[in-house]
C-alpha cells in the first residue's frame, strides 16, 4: 500500500464526510412521513372524542370504537420500512427512529383514549398536541441529519 501523507488522509476523510451525508430528497420524505403520522394519530384522537360526544351510543360500543382505532393505527408502524423499500437511499437509523417515536406516540394515544370521554377539552386539546410531539420532534431531527 502506498504510504499516505497527512494531506491525503485529510482529503479522504473529507470525501467520507461528504458521501456519508448524501441522501437526496428521500430523507426529507422520511421526515415528512414521520411528522404526518404523528399529526394523523393526534387528529384521530380528537375525532374519536368528537364522535363519542356527538353521537350517543352505549358504553360497550364506545369502547369498541376506541379499541378499533388503536388496532387500525398499528399497521402504520410498517410505513417507514415500506418507504425504505421503495426509496433509492434509506437513511441510516430512520426505520429505528420512526418505530421508537411511533411507539411513544401510540402509548400516549392509548392513555389519551382512556380520558377521551371524560376529560375537559381544556386539558384534552393540549394532550392531543403532546401525542403528536414525539413524532414531530423525531421528524425534525431526521430532517436536520
Amino acid at each position: 500500500m502506498t504510504p499516505l501523507t497527512p494531506e491525503e488522509a485529510r482529503d479522504q476523510l473529507a470525501t467520507a464526510e461528504t458521501l456519508a451525508t448524501t441522501s437526496g430528497t428521500d430523507a426529507q420524505i422520511g421526515a415528512f412521513i414521520t411528522a404526518g403520522v404523528g399529526v394523523l394519530i393526534a387528529v384521530v384522537l380528537v375525532m374519536t372524542r368528537v364522535l363519542v360526544e356527538t353521537i350517543p351510543m352505549p358504553y360497550v360500543i364506545i369502547m369498541g370504537v376506541l379499541a378499533s382505532t388503536v388496532v387500525g393505527l398499528i399497521p402504520l408502524v410498517g410505513l417507514m420500512p415500506w418507504h425504505n423499500h421503495h426509496v433509492r437511499f434509506a437513511k441510516r437509523g430512520f426505520a429505528r427512529r420512526y418505530a421508537a417515536s411511533f411507539g411513544v406516540t401510540m402509548a400516549l394515544y392509548a392513555i389519551g383514549m382512556m380520558w377521551a370521554i371524560s376529560t375537559p377539552w381544556v386539558v384534552f386539546a393540549p394532550y392531543c398536541v403532546l401525542v403528536a410531539l414525539p413524532m414531530l420532534l423525531m421528524a425534525t431531527r431526521m430532517a436536520q441529519r
Binding site: 501523507t5 488522509a9 479522504q12 458521501l19 421503495h86 433509492r88
Partner: protein, 107 residues
Amino acid sequence: MSPENHSANQEVHPRHRLNETIHAPVRFSIIATLAGADQAEFSFVRDTVEVSDSVLSKQVATLESAGIVKVKKGYVGKRPRTWLSLTAFGRRAFQDHLAALREIAGG
C-alpha cells in the same frame, strides 16, 4: 534504536491499520456512501460514486467477498432492484480505517 524497537515502532504506525480492501478509492467511496444508509439502491451508489455499472459490480463483488458489503436482490413492483448495505463487520472495519486516517491526518 535497536531492531526490535524499530520493528515495534513500524507496527504501531497508523498506516498499518489501514484496511487494504477499503483503501482503494472507488471502494472507499462506495463504503463511505453506504455508511450513511441502512441500505442504498445499486443505481444510487453508481450515480453518487460516478462509476459505470460494471465497475461498481466488480468492486461490490470484492467488498462482498471480504464480508464488508451485503447485497440483496428483490423487486419493487415488477422492477428488479439490487440493494447494498454495510455489514456489521464492514461498518466496524470502516470506522477503524477512518480512525487510522485521522491519526495520519493529525501528523
